[in-house]
């Protein structure tokens, strides 16, 4: 938490004043929340080729994009885990979120970076986000199944859940094919 505070002040001094509630934190703050022990985050964008996209499709995951900005959480020579930030549409507006995945491929944490919809801000609540902890590429990750819905925000919940599922699958595939070496 110490790290976050310092980081927050440093960031605020340099970025233009952000909007109020809609922006809760930026990707870097989220990354440091997820991996407080990391001393740096290295960017390792993942580019999926046609075969990879097909594999994902077979798993029932639509990759949506071939290029994914994955950041490796590094401490010295060690990789602690992976952080991916992404945006999905809620009902009408974009939701920015970040997913932190451990070395074992399981979700450690998700954070909502910005939420602008009039309804469904409850996806930011720890209780809802906690549902993702421990999920892997093998998990169902579907609203109304292993992820509970937030009444009145079904689309936001569904799209974020789909996004997390997608990210978990992409990271798992990238690890398996050695893209992070």
């Amino acid at each position: 938490m110490r790290v976050v505070l310092a980081g927050a002040i440093a960031t605020a001094a340099l970025t233009p004043a952000s909007a109020f509630a809609v922006d809760y934190m930026n990707a870097d703050q989220a990354a440091r929340l997820m991996f407080p022990d990391a001393d740096r985050f290295e960017s390792r964008p993942v580019v999926l080729d046609a075969d990879a996209l097909q594999t994902l499709d077979a798993q029932g995951v639509r990759a949506r994009s071939a290029r994914w900005p994955v950041k490796l959480a590094r401490r010295g020579d060690q990789t602690l885990g992976y952080v991916v930030s992404d945006e999905v549409v809620g009902k009408f507006e974009l939701i920015s979120y970040a997913v932190g995945i451990g070395l074992d491929g399981a979700v450690r944490q998700i954070e909502v970076l910005s939420y602008r919809e009039s309804h469904g801000g409850e996806i930011r609540l720890p209780a809802w986000r906690r549902q993702f902890v421990g999920k892997t590429a093998a998990s169902t990750l579907r609203v109304g199944d292993d992820i509970a819905n937030i009444s009145g925000a079904t689309l936001s919940c569904t799209h974020v859940t789909e996004g997390v599922k997608r990210i978990v699958a992409v990271v798992a595939l990238a690890k398996k094919t050695g893209l992070f070496e």
Binding site: G7, A10, T11, L14, T15, S18, A19, F20, A21, V22, D23, N26, A27, D28, R32, D39, R40, F41, E42, S43, P45, G60, R64, S65, W68, P69, K71, S85, D86, E87, V88, V89, F92, E93, L94, S96, A98, L113, S114, R116, S118, G121, E122, R124, L125, A127, W128, R142, G144, D145, D146, I147, A148, N149, I150, S151, G152, T154, L155, T158
Partner: protein, 447 residues
């Protein structure tokens, strides 16, 4: 930062100088050509200053992106351009500022088929609703949300459809947890009113408790404040227009079908001398659970009569979605005060003003089957409602009897296609009015 201030200062000096110069130069007609030459020079200098300012700001932005990891070479991270996903994003890594298109088109539609099982000559197929709306974001804090609805496909003086503005409000985030909405907005009451797209409810037709008692889609004009708290509570409170009891038509049956539906104003040249207040509390602290309630009350006579009357409507609702289940329940009750004074000139007529009306329902749905494209969710619903639970006493022989409570059982299924399309079918059975028993089919979409 320092350079920025210097640049800003320089440009303002230049601007001030040019104005000062223009002042004195205007008086001298002889040096007009000198004057315009000088102006041109100033203009080009100003343009240069602006360009330098823009460049500096750009450098600041990239510097900020690189700053959070001090002491490490993150040039690679800063230099790597963000990938372009399907949705356009800004270059700042997930900063969320002004992402996405500013204007979003929204729409939903319902096509319904109703076939009374005992009375098939009244079978109807109807383009029940066609709704087009837009949401436009002015800046990160402010947006406008509108919805225009066409009911029953064709609207003209000789057709039965209607065109109406269902929502038109501005929303501005004023603090971390608070937003203000002003304009014509949906009232936070029950489960259906604010979430009434065909993909949001089970069954072809909207349930009776939330159409006959809570007059969905119920909207009023006014201002409200919305507070979203970290414990999962959303609180809303506001001041709006209300109902107009002067519109009560005792010679028609509209008031018996939906008391508040027959006297709502929909911000259509609404009588607004009497305003109403409302509050709503909803808790979603536990994932999959919603508990909430609302209350609305206000004057409904607007000084057009010597007597005054208040309309009050409150509700409690719950929704629980554990795993594949979806349970919900609503109880709503409305009251109108001082009805004897308003019923006195209407004695003997078909539909007098009730003192109270209420209803409740419970519903259970289960996602029986799904794959990544489709899902099938059968459901059952039991509802009871009474649009004239009681009448105030008007004297012996003149006080109408309370209406009989209607009980409706609905069983059916929603079949979802992709994200945003639903095909529905259900059977409804009415205890008091078996002629209304019907089989319904529905097709709907929402985006």
């Amino acid at each position: 930062m320092h350079s920025t201030r210097l640049l800003a200062a320089t440009s303002s000096v230049l601007i001030a100088a040019s104005f000062a110069f223009a002042d004195t130069a205007a008086a001298q007609s002889a040096s007009e050509s000198d004057f315009s030459k000088r102006l041109d020079q100033l203009a080009s200098e100003l343009a240069k200053v602006k360009a330098e300012l823009a460049q500096l700001q750009q450098q600041q932005r990239t510097a900020a992106a690189a700053a959070p990891a001090p002491g490490t070479a993150t040039a690679a991270a800063a230099a790597a351009p963000a990938p372009a996903p399907a949705v356009p994003v800004s270059t700042a890594l997930g900063s969320g500022l002004l992402n996405g298109p500013a204007t979003v088109l929204t729409s939903y539609g319902e096509i319904n088929y109703n076939r009374p099982t005992n009375d098939s000559k009244n079978t109807v197929a109807d383009m029940r609703r066609f709704v087009l709306g837009y949401q436009h974001r002015f800046d990160e804090k402010t947006k406008v949300v509108t919805e225009l609805e066409v009911e029953h496909a064709v609207s003209s003086s000789s057709d039965r459809g209607e065109v109406e503005v269902e929502q038109a409000y501005l929303e501005r985030q004023v603090a971390r947890q608070y937003a203000v909405r002003a304009g014509l907005f949906l009232m936070p009451s029950g489960l259906l009113n604010e979430n009434h797209e065909p993909t949001a409810f089970y069954g072809v037709e909207r349930n009776f408790v939330e159409t006959a008692i809570i007059p969905s889609t119920w909207r009023e004009g006014g201002i409200q404040i919305v507070g979203t708290y970290d414990n999962g509570v959303t609180a809303q409170a506001g001041i709006t227009t209300g109902f107009d009891l002067n519109k009560w038509d005792a010679t028609s049956t509209e008031g018996a079908q939906s008391p508040l539906g027959s006297i709502h104003q929909e911000l259509q040249l609404a009588n607004a001398r009497d305003l109403s207040v409302f509050g709503a509390l909803n808790w979603r602290g536990v994932p999959g659970l919603l508990l909430g309630g609302s209350i609305f009350t206000g004057g409904a006579t607007h000084g057009q009569s010597a007597n005054s009357s208040h309309v009050t409507l409150w509700d409690v609702h719950v929704r629980y979605q554990p795993g594949r289940w979806d349970f919900s329940g609503v109880y709503a009750r409305g009251t109108i005060s001082n009805t004897p004074a308003f019923n006195a000139p209407l004695v003997g007529s078909t539909t007098l003003i009730p003192k109270s009306f209420d209803g409740w329902y419970t519903q259970a749905a289960y996602k029986l089957w799904s794959n990544d494209q489709y899902s099938l969710a059968p459901f059952v619903r039991w509802e009871q409602f009474n649009t004239a639970r009681s009448f105030a006493d008007l004297g012996a022989g003149l006080t109408p009897d309370a209406a009989r409570t209607e009980r409706v059982a609905t069983i059916g299924a929603n079949f979802n296609i992709g994200s945003g399309i639903v095909v529905k079918a259900d059977l409804q059975r009415f205890r008091q009015n078996p002629d209304a028993n019907r089989f319904d089919l529905g097709l709907g979409w929402s985006f």
